[in-house]
């Protein structure tokens, strides 16, 4: 490749120092706590600072609370009208860009995912208030589409001028009767990142939608897939696998999900948390209110997928399911093995860096391992300490001012619908057998010594990392993509992928192998310099005379 040769081997300490060098002292101090050198320590998990405010002026990867709420969680729902209350921008920018796929087929199923709806607040709405407009917009949406649900999202100025979107939603819900109107106070400034939006979305969906279904699901193995957003079709692939295994996915939170899926979520017997960052709130609430235990799963990576399937089967303790799962894995793996064998010669030994929002920074390391690639640096955009260090540190977490702005909802067991799926004894037995409920060890234990873990990596730091460590591949978001590429480094946009996918499951693994092989071994990286730049001296040949 045309990648610059590493002239010097930098130690992680030096790298960290280098990265902090240019910062003003205060900034350096803050960032230092967010950059962790992964050192295997005997008794202590190293601490990292996470989920703190972004430093003003530092070009960050992060988005806002609205992005986390509407953009990430509610956006991928198909038959809920997502109505953004605010100026046009927020709604526009979340319009279809995330590549969360949905099913369009059929006359019956509604799909509003291609629609970008907003109250498009104007000056006069800011001046005179937007509640009337919101009510009218909800009415118009109802009249046009007659959806089962209308979700209202507040953006920054709405919070400022004090529009009471919940009151409007309640009023309209009562007016319509056949349409659930609910609201999210997800103003962008509310929180330090998308994470706050996740929390708000979890709360409101749980409050307004979950448990509302009147139709009973009678399938044998019922799960909720929490934290899978069907980016590039990941959810479709996972559904394919689950279906092949005979596992019924009651509700995906929230890729291609429907009103009814949310409403029926309480009927699942197990919640499988894919994204630990964005959806763990609902998992806990489902357990508290309905008795549904949850486990952490990961369908990114063929081995991880197999492992997760086995885990689900183990939970259900049904040998038929266990056998079925094994059969499916056995059927799917040969193609995976063949594909990975093909790329291994070209990918083994190459290095990667992953900096994405939450769980993916951890999950995708699985795929790189399968390809013989080493993740030399990784980090989350907006994760919390438990995503880095594991859930065991949750009790140590302190509530800060920003966290407090997210209303804490009180959840109690539902007098009617609460039904423990496992007895405490059963759970204990499984745990004794090594089964882990609501457990997540975090990213740190899974990364090698001397790798660098950076929370909320910013553009300056990203470039520094690339400059110093010269990875063969860098994974982050669209905002980071081209500056990394300009450095002559292959870059895989690991949020919405830009192109490609699915990368989940078995088919996805094969896709990813090929994609990464294509990326890191592309000739384009050898085209950086022109001939006259490589041989800048006068090379006029003698033969011209």
């Amino acid at each position: 490749m045309g990648k610059a040769q590493k002239l010097v081997q930098w130690s992680p300490t030096d790298i960290k120092a280098k990265m902090l060098e240019k910062y003003p002292p205060k900034v350096a101090r803050k960032r230092s706590k967010q950059i962790l050198i992964n050192e295997a320590m005997e008794n202590t998990t190293p601490e990292i600072t996470a989920n703190v405010r972004t430093i003003p002026g530092i070009i960050t990867m992060r988005g806002c609370t609205y992005a986390g709420c509407k953009g990430v969680i509610m956006g991928p729902t198909s038959d809920i009208v997502n109505l953004v209350h605010g100026p046009i921008g927020c709604s526009f920018y979340a319009w279809l860009t995330r590549r969360n796929q949905s099913s369009y087929t059929g006359e019956n199923n509604e799909n509003f995912i291609t629609y970008c709806m907003s109250t498009d607040m104007q000056d006069s709405d800011i001046i005179f208030g937007g509640e009337k407009k919101l009510a009218a917009a909800i009415q118009e949406a109802y009249d046009l589409f007659h959806p089962k649900g209308i979700a209202v999202f507040a953006t920054c100025p709405v919070g400022l001028i004090g529009d009471d979107i919940h009151a409007v939603a309640k009023k309209m819900k009562e007016k319509f009767g056949d349409c659930n109107v609910f609201a999210f106070s997800c103003e962008g400034y509310k929180g330090v990142s998308q994470s706050a939006g996740h929390h708000i979305a979890n709360n409101q969906v749980f409050t307004h939608l979950v448990g509302k279904s009147t139709t009973e699901k009678t399938d044998k193995y019922k799960i909720n897939l929490l934290g899978e957003y069907n980016i590039g079709g990941d959810g479709f692939e996972i559904d394919r696998i689950l279906k092949k295994c005979g596992i019924t996915n009651i509700a995906t939170f929230s890729g291609n999900s429907t009103y009814d899926q949310f409403a029926s979520a309480n009927q699942a017997d197990l919640s499988c948390v894919m994204c630990h960052r964005s959806i763990n709130y609902v998992a806990d609430m489902l357990e508290t209110k309905y008795g549904i235990p949850w486990i952490k799963v990961n369908f990114i990576g063929a081995e991880a997928t197999a492992k997760s399937l086995r885990k689900i089967a183990t939970y259900f303790g049904d040998q038929d399911l266990i056998d079925k799962v094994e059969a499916v894995i056995a059927e799917e793996m040969p193609a995976v093995d063949a594909a990975v064998k093909d790329v291994l010669p070209r990918t083994t030994g190459k290095t990667a860096m992953i900096f994405v929002g939450g769980s993916r920074a951890h999950h995708y390391q699985e795929l790189f391992k399968e390809m013989g690639m080493k993740t030399i640096s990784a980090g989350y955009e907006f994760a919390h300490r438990d995503d880095y260090e594991g859930r065991q540190i949750i009790p140590d977490l302190k509530v800060d001012a920003d966290s407090r702005n997210i209303e804490e909802i009180e959840v109690e067991p539902d007098p009617v619908l609460f039904k423990p799926r496992k007895t405490e004894a059963e759970i204990e037995a499984l745990e004794k057998a090594g089964f882990a409920f609501k457990d997540y060890e975090g990213i740190i234990p899974d990364m090698e010594k001397d790798t660098l873990i950076v929370d909320d990596l910013n553009q300056y730091e990203a470039e520094k990392l690339v400059e110093l460590m010269k990875p063969d591949l860098f994974c982050a978001g669209i905002k980071e993509k081209f500056s990394i590429q300009k450095l002559g480094i292959p870059m895989k946009q690991l949020h919405s992928y830009d192109s490609g996918g699915p990368y989940a499951g078995f088919v996805g693994a094969i896709n990813f192998y090929n994609e990464i092989d294509r990326l890191v071994n592309s000739r384009v990286w050898s085209y950086m310099k022109a001939p006259w730049q490589e041989n800048p001296e006068l090379s006029a040949t003698y033969v011209w005379e």
Partner: protein, 457 residues
């Protein structure tokens, strides 16, 4: 059907915007700011806005878009953003060392009422702004106008930097409006051909269509320098290309520095480009060389050669006012019939202008300012068109209604070329016609019966 819920029957909507044909001001200010040399745009508000704006610009240009944000949390919403901005200014100059920080407000900071000049003053007094560096600010409330309004406001802030020495520098200021980097380059090329020395601001050419060489410069050696912007006060005249994008800045320059201004249409198409070239030579007193007339003639040639394929074809167009006005005139000039015209940017003036341009057309024209693509789609369902011209989001209508789409405007997220091949000027007119003609003929190739399948067009 991707847009399966769009009914043919059109009902009145007053509150609900569906599938907008615009976005908010700040992104326009960000784009404009990127046209200043050594400039790091700064989004003074929550970080979400900056993230979204950068992402959209990134997907459109497929180029790095660097911009900072004040990263408001609730505190800044309460106390105002001064502290965040001061901190940001300090951090930016320390870490990124730009020549300029161009601050625009977001709807949040606008509603809060942050006073940028006062904050800048404090930053300077507190030595947060290194000597020789510039901080400029534009107020870009998201609930006023659209992204082009934001562009205009930032450009106006640039114009406000102009200084007047009393001695004319013989240059002509060109405020190009929100056009592609390559369009700006084309405008510069045209001006050079006409022999006119110009200062163009903003100038994103070389900034947002940069090369891949293994070396990344956050601040490439491109864009309009602050020095040149200041010198714009000594220009012999200003040509503002586009009422919505550029007129305010030109008028400010006129008022402040007595630089006479002329507001022209964006030079898309034959006539608008004619007026632009004519204005250039009039302002500067140069003689238009034959090369320009030759380029113009090539466009006229293409129009005449392919007129039969354009003639009376119905077109639906959506986009920004300045562009739509020029495009409408261009389409009408080649006897195409833009019958559905929507811009998201509010303003009755737009509707009046379009009606004026299309008054002799043989079809009824639907035109809407502050409209949306949902309405456009409904119009199309009621009266189909032969081609749809607009940004990428039009592809959903295009697929659903089986209409070819010519991607033009902002944002174009799913094709390449708009960064490299201008549609401004005569050459740009040829490209635009080539693209329109291409989709029209592709459709003929697709749909003609085998009997009518043609070798020659």
């Amino acid at each position: 059907m991707l847009l399966k819920h769009t009914p043919k029957e059109i009902t009145e909507r007053k509150a609900l915007m569906i599938n907008p044909a615009k976005t908010c001001q700040p992104i326009g200010a960000m784009y404009a700011a990127l046209g200043i040399k050594g400039c790091l745009p700064h989004s003074h508000g929550s970080q979400g806005c900056c993230a979204y704006h950068r992402s959209t610009l990134t997907r459109h240009y497929k180029e790095p878009i660097s911009a900072a944000t004040s990263s408001f949390t609730e505190g800044a919403s309460v106390f105002g953003g001064q502290a965040n901005l001061l901190q940001a200014i300090n951090n930016i100059f320390t870490v990124y060392a730009p020549e300029v920080i161009a601050v625009h407000t977001t709807c949040l900071s606008e509603t809060i009422g942050d006073d940028l000049p006062q904050i800048f003053d404090k930053a300077i007094k507190e030595q947060k702004v290194p000597e020789g560096k510039t901080v400029l600010g534009a107020n870009t409330p998201s609930y006023v106008g659209s992204h082009v309004t934001g562009f205009s406001n930032m450009v106006k802030s640039m114009a406000n930097l102009a200084e007047k020495s009393g001695k004319k520098n013989g240059k002509v200021n060109i405020i190009p409006g929100w056009v592609e980097p390559c369009d700006m380059e084309e405008i510069k090329r045209l001006a050079a051909m006409v022999g006119v020395k110009i200062t163009m601001f903003p100038d994103t050419s070389g900034v947002l269509n940069g090369p891949l060489t293994g070396e990344y410069k956050m601040f490439p050696d491109a864009g309009t320098s602050i020095k040149d912007i200041k010198a714009s006060g000594d220009a012999i005249g200003t040509l503002a290309l586009g009422e919505w994008c550029s007129a305010d800045a030109a008028r400010l320059l006129d008022t402040k520095c007595k630089v006479p201004c002329s507001v022209l249409d964006m030079p898309f198409g034959l006539q608008a480009t004619d007026r632009f070239v004519d204005a250039l030579r009039k302002v500067s007193g140069t003689t238009v060389p034959d090369e320009v007339a030759a380029e113009r003639g090539q466009l006229v040639d293409l129009i005449s050669d392919m007129h039969q394929y354009f003639y009376h074809k119905k077109v639906a167009i959506f986009g920004d006012p300045d562009q739509l006005i020029a495009l409408t005139e261009f389409l009408v000039s080649i006897d195409m019939c833009p019958i559905h015209i929507v811009t998201g940017t509010p303003g009755k003036k737009f509707e009046r202008r379009i009606k004026e341009i299309t008054k002799d057309m043989p079809y009824k024209v639907n035109v809407k300012a502050a409209g949306d693509m949902f309405l456009l789609h409904q119009w199309i369902k009621n009266e189909p068109v032969d081609v749809l011209i607009g940004n990428t989001y039009g592809k959903y209508i295009a697929r659903d209604e089986d209409i070819p789409l010519v991607r033009w405007g902002f944002p174009i997220l799913d094709r390449q070329g708009h960064q490299y091949f201008p549609t401004v000027g005569y050459k740009g007119g040829i490209r635009l016609l080539e693209k329109i003609l291409g989709v029209l003929l592709d459709r003929l190739d697709r749909d003609n019966t085998e009997e009518k399948f043609e070798l020659v067009y």
